[in-house]
Symmetry: C3
Subunit: 363 residues, 3 copies
Amino acid sequence: MHYTISQIAQSLGLTAEGKADLSVRGAAEPATAAPDQLALAMQPSYAETLPKGAARAAMLWEGADWQALGLESAILAPRPRYALSGLTSLFDPGPEIAPGIHPFADVHPSAEIGADAAIGAFVQIGPRASIGARARIASHVSVAEDAKIGSDALLYSGVRIGARVTIGDRFTAQPNAVIGGDGFSFVTPEKGAVEAVRTTLGDAQGLRQQAYARIHSLGAVKIGDDVEVGANACIDRGTVADTVIGRGTKIDNLVQVGHNVRVGADCLLCGQVGIAGSTQLGDRCVLGGQVGVTDHLVLGNDVMAGAGTLLRTNQPDGRVMLGNPAMPMQASIDSYKALRRLPRLMRDIADLRTRVPKSDNHD
Amino acid sequence: MHYTISQIAQSLGLTAEGKADLSVRGAAEPATAAPDQLALAMQPSYAETLPKGAARAAMLWEGADWQALGLESAILAPRPRYALSGLTSLFDPGPEIAPGIHPFADVHPSAEIGADAAIGAFVQIGPRASIGARARIASHVSVAEDAKIGSDALLYSGVRIGARVTIGDRFTAQPNAVIGGDGFSFVTPEKGAVEAVRTTLGDAQGLRQQAYARIHSLGAVKIGDDVEVGANACIDRGTVADTVIGRGTKIDNLVQVGHNVRVGADCLLCGQVGIAGSTQLGDRCVLGGQVGVTDHLVLGNDVMAGAGTLLRTNQPDGRVMLGNPAMPMQASIDSYKALRRLPRLMRDIADLRTRVPKSDNHD
Amino acid sequence: MHYTISQIAQSLGLTAEGKADLSVRGAAEPATAAPDQLALAMQPSYAETLPKGAARAAMLWEGADWQALGLESAILAPRPRYALSGLTSLFDPGPEIAPGIHPFADVHPSAEIGADAAIGAFVQIGPRASIGARARIASHVSVAEDAKIGSDALLYSGVRIGARVTIGDRFTAQPNAVIGGDGFSFVTPEKGAVEAVRTTLGDAQGLRQQAYARIHSLGAVKIGDDVEVGANACIDRGTVADTVIGRGTKIDNLVQVGHNVRVGADCLLCGQVGIAGSTQLGDRCVLGGQVGVTDHLVLGNDVMAGAGTLLRTNQPDGRVMLGNPAMPMQASIDSYKALRRLPRLMRDIADLRTRVPKSDNHD
């Protein structure tokens, strides 16, 4: 895959500087770039390492003096990370899956497979499942009965799509992601200790649990267009209605989305986030790594939570939270700074108490 | 799958009100229920949305005035969530796995498969493995050598059962669950930094780790009857004896159960819980989402921990804990409320100190 | 698999005491050991339970009086856990994978498979992939195009190795581990709310996210010799350069290693650890269960973090951290002890304030 600097610039809506017909076979870090690789030096600090490599062309920040850097050609990017998106898309070969249906795949006769699909070895597509045009399905994927997936899907190896799950166009799932496991929903015949503790906040002595009965998940999962789900992530089915993931939302590895959860559009759920059952997220929420959200909450639009935050209460639009348990970000930072000084504070107070006369208990 | 209201009520041990021979094909939320669906409106707030849908029959709370709600038939449930268990079981079609052994399955000749089993495509059953009657095993499952699974198992796609694992009856495993990976157990030839820090609680300067050698997991995993394990969850093998999961315990997605752990009966381990090696849980423990339990602890019966709690110490029977690090629930709530007010408190104390005379250092 | 006590002692570099030609078929806990099993009683408290079992030989601590314990033979281990490593290695039968390539495997003609490999059912090896000598690859593994794995690999069922990943010798991956999923890297066309909040620490009102574009992962993953990766763990590809895991590092179940991360040699990452993108770890770091490390950090050599710690800042060599957010271990313990007493402290201060005269606001 070779492109000229001119071709690359054009695909990014940018301008090629200098020798625009110079051809490169890929991108590299400045210090290790070969002469036929485009160096990525979108900050001055990266550009300093250009002399260690052999790049003749680079992608630089807006206003960079590319000639002074000894380059023959350059692309100046006003928003470097966005340009990086276009550039990496250009050079990504994508997974190598042979066109058509692999002879070792098991596609049910009643399943519908769109035009120009590539389906790998040991893939199983169940009864009445439907997969859109141009799907790329790597080895060992299973798509259960009556699942519907839109066009241009990319499913990596070992992805599990459960029965009756519906997914929009341009869906990507990383290896071993599970869409449509049963919700974690169990109930005891009589009121049990969990319910009592939720009321009293006290200890559970004297109560006795009984054997749990399953509440089955009759709902499925409904996913909008342009969604991505990470490796080993899990999205559970709903109990009666579907669990919902909105258009454009991106879900990282090892994330847990519980049953009946509704996630809005264009959210980012980072690695190991957990969202408990029946919680709702608005649009454009961003949850950092390992964030937990307890069940039956309502988070508004544009809610953000820093890594490791535990949200136990509803959040209004635009709220930025931090900590376990969570506080608004600045309050959390202040409180934890204070916590660090707390042991000394306690000594100060003990000292103060010795210097202040006891209050008169006879009054 | 159609049932009359009378049939449904009978299967739940309840009474059908009104037109008991009305037939429904499934359950739905009140606002979206079709005329041939049973609306689930077990709280008055849900019942208010009945007019938005077209339900003719509903499941309601005990004492509800179903006629005033405009319904033709109803089932009144004294414990609605328990009734929901029976109802969803009735309408759950279960996974569609053809009876018998799929031609693309690889079942070792020495394996024993019980009567009326359904084994899907690309399943591998290893030497001398044994699987009980009426097993339903979806695609891509592997059951390694000498593993034993009881009757009525339901294994979803991609489940891994390791060698010599033994499992009771009515076992369910969600997609890509792993039972019987090797324990995370390594040792250095000489005493290393980890062990030193456990003793001193100080920094580790001056110590140098050596290469780790593996302690192999000769034990397996032993699971009682009526256990369920979630998607992408992991239960590791024991070192010498088996890791043990007690009867009736339910384990959610992405849970980690370390080597040599012993979990009692009827416990609930919610999503992303982690239990480190050699820790023991009693019966009926409930750990909320993302709870962590460190190694070699003993938790009694009926211990509960709220979401995001980190347990670093043993817990007596019935203790309810919260927070990282954990405190008894009410103490945790009080402490974190105080933490929020701590920055202001510090200003108060600084002010107090200016108003109190210094203690006389000459004494 | 039978060994004499003498053979076992020799393989551990230790001495057999007493009847050295006594033969055992395995190891067991003292209380349950059969006469032909070696009891593991490396601490006096374990030795007390020997009479409950029927062991004739045991592995004991250095200086133990084996004859007084009624044994016929013994091995005294100066470092018992290290001896346990050798012993369990001796008795571990390893997974049962038939030699050669299973007829139901799909190995691309251009792939290179080393001598004496054992490749199980439903394994897929992609174009130009290379796998070293004596590999043991269990069922359902996929190795994508151009991946290179060294000699003596052990890949359990369902492991996913992505395209162009390179791995050293003696690599072990537990079931369903994913090496080489795409990094979680997305960007909006214009500056969005996340970037604004990182600057202001305030709420995000008034800002609006746009649809995310993917930054593709052109890099792969590069893993040194003697690395192990746990069940359902994930290591993501780098954006331009590779994500790197150093020699001898051990990674537990459900761990997330983000894109561009560089982990040094001989690190231990315990269950459910998460390391966000572009962070670097030195050598011999030890992260306890559920530890989180945010993105773009630099941790030195020999850094340790206790279970449940959240690291949000760089750490120098040898630092031992604890808590969310993290503090040096002793400071964390002191602060959280103080936090527990904080509600009472607040009452003390309120009392103090009533006893100290108000400062004169007229001055």
